[in-house]
Symmetry: C2
Subunit: 324 residues, 2 copies
């Protein structure tokens, strides 16, 4: 059995060995560029881990793992255009470094490359793997569209928000794990359980991200505290607060949301105060524990010795922060 | 055997029956919208025709034909963003009707839908069909990138230009025909021949388009004569003229290209005069006949009775204009 770190190293090396044609340079150089920017390679490493724990040969899952990483980076390239993001991990985004047309077209070509990589799985599991991959891709597109449409809406329900983060982020974790499990020889039941594990853990992780933005230790998480509050981002916290606030409090919250010139520090303090008053932090924690709980339940039900499953358990534990 | 018109009707009905989820509307409505704008449905109809002439059941090829049409319309949706085109067939383009982000993301989702449709072919031919489909998709992306990069280049060779139109347009015709042939039961040799037929015919057709823009009867082709000259488009005619013009003529041609304020009618007349002087029209005609000839040679070599092949022959004849 390989550790997560070993699998991340394995996939990193495989990414470095990917090569693309020299012509046309503006189509292929951005692909190598965005893949070189890095990231933790968690999705492909999880695919390999799922293969490994079901007794499969991880070397036979590398192409599928690369497909997941290439697909993920394609979505980043297009999302960065849509979000007008100038930087990704401290480097210029593709539409900034080249231009927008290059980022659109290179992204399209990347998606084709991801498909070519995924099609290299064995005949035995070709159809189920491609079905999972395509359904995941559809989910990610739907999630991104919901996310964009929420920005211009006044009201978003907690249920809609959870569904959005599930589609935008969690289904790809679930899909990567399920594909890895199938390559490793898992039966359908266990493959579905590991999908649920990834999906529910992904939701818990995204919700935790929302909480940490407000309540996290800035030294530990390296982010500006309250960045989401400053930008009026519709997080789980804000959505819950809008749902629960009555009369005066609701008006005060709305006043901060409607004032683009508000002093950032005062706004963060005031909105955090409202969250505290409404007990939002505790409710978010309960939601996180509920989704993480569903993930661990699914993991427990997988028909494998605990010694095999400990790797996924350890991964999940490392994702979930305890001290916030 | 079905005629091209019958197959176009069949595919049109199948397109009208395609349905997508209601949510999120900004992801799926643009897909239905661009597919409803129409077009001749030539690519999917050719796929069905190839299946038909090899003795296959066209009903079993409908999903693959839809995949080709959905893929083609995805490329149109993204190309329209890159070209900043306000209209397509007289209707607002998706990025104009909605916005650019919607057009990027809907296009991405369309490509996934195209993959799902294509994956519905029989197991027997699943891998070769997906390989053709993905290689075609890569070719189309490369062609579009070459086309965009040519705009900002001073010199493009005729060879580079032919390769660009081959990738951007012709490989999809070839790919559609080859996939249809495989579904119809063609052997590899015949499938490759029908690919060559489509590819070479596609090149001939695109070159003819360049000639007709300058020398076509405006009443017949419904386009402004010389539109390509006015916009300095690097067509086969311009590239050949730049290749062949010497000293004074080259300078005069460059003068027109460098003058954005030139009177359009005068510019069209002057550049056409240069083309005439250099005998460009005849050379383009020879190139067209050469590519069309390769297409017909490949068609002749296909191991099928002439009565079966007459449908493709008739289609090719209908594409190639004689009186220019």
């Amino acid at each position: 059995m390989k550790t997560l770190t070993e699998l991340q190293t394995l996939i990193q090396k495989a990414i470095e060995q990917l090569s693309y044609p020299a012509q046309p340079p503006d189509l292929y150089e951005p692909i190598s560029y965005i893949l070189s920017i890095g990231g933790k390679r968690l999705r492909p490493a999880l695919l390999l881990m799922a293969c490994d724990i079901f007794g499969g040969d991880v070397n036979k899952a590398v192409k599928a793992a690369l497909a997941i990483e290439v697909f993920h980076n394609f979505t980043l390239m297009h999302d960065d255009i849509m979000d007008k993001a100038p930087l990704r991990r401290g480097k210029a985004t593709v539409h900034e470094h080249w231009n927008q047309n290059v980022a659109i077209l290179s992204g399209d070509a990347m998606m084709v490359e991801a498909n070519k990589l995924m099609l290299q799985v064995d005949d035995r599991i070709l159809r189920p793997v491609m079905d999972i991959f395509n359904n995941t891709a559809t989910g990610v597109c739907e999630g991104q569209q919901f996310d964009m449409s929420f920005e211009s809406r006044d009201h978003v329900s907690a249920k809609e928000y959870i569904n959005m983060i599930r589609l935008k982020t969690a289904v790809l974790l679930g899909g990567a794990l399920k594909i890895g499990a199938l390559i490793g020889g898992a039966n359908e039941k266990d493959a579905n359980l590991i999908y649920t594990f990834g999906e529910q853990l992904g939701i818990a992780f995204q919700l935790q991200d929302d909480v940490l933005d407000v309540y996290g230790d800035p030294d530990k998480f390296g982010k500006q505290v309250g960045g989401d509050i400053i930008s009026n981002k519709k997080t789980y916290l804000l959505i819950k607060a809008q749902e629960l606030a009555r009369a005066g409090t609701a008006g005060e919250l709305q006043k901060w949301l409607n004032n683009p010139k508000a002093d950032s520090r005062k706004k963060v303090a005031a909105v955090t105060g409202i969250y505290n008053q409404l007990n939002i932090r505790e409710q978010a924690k309960q939601a996180i524990q509920s989704y993480a709980g569903k993930a661990f339940t699914a993991l427990n039900e997988i028909d494998l010795p605990v010694t095999q499953k400990q790797y996924l358990n350890a991964f999940a534990d490392s994702l979930m922060v305890r001290d916030y």
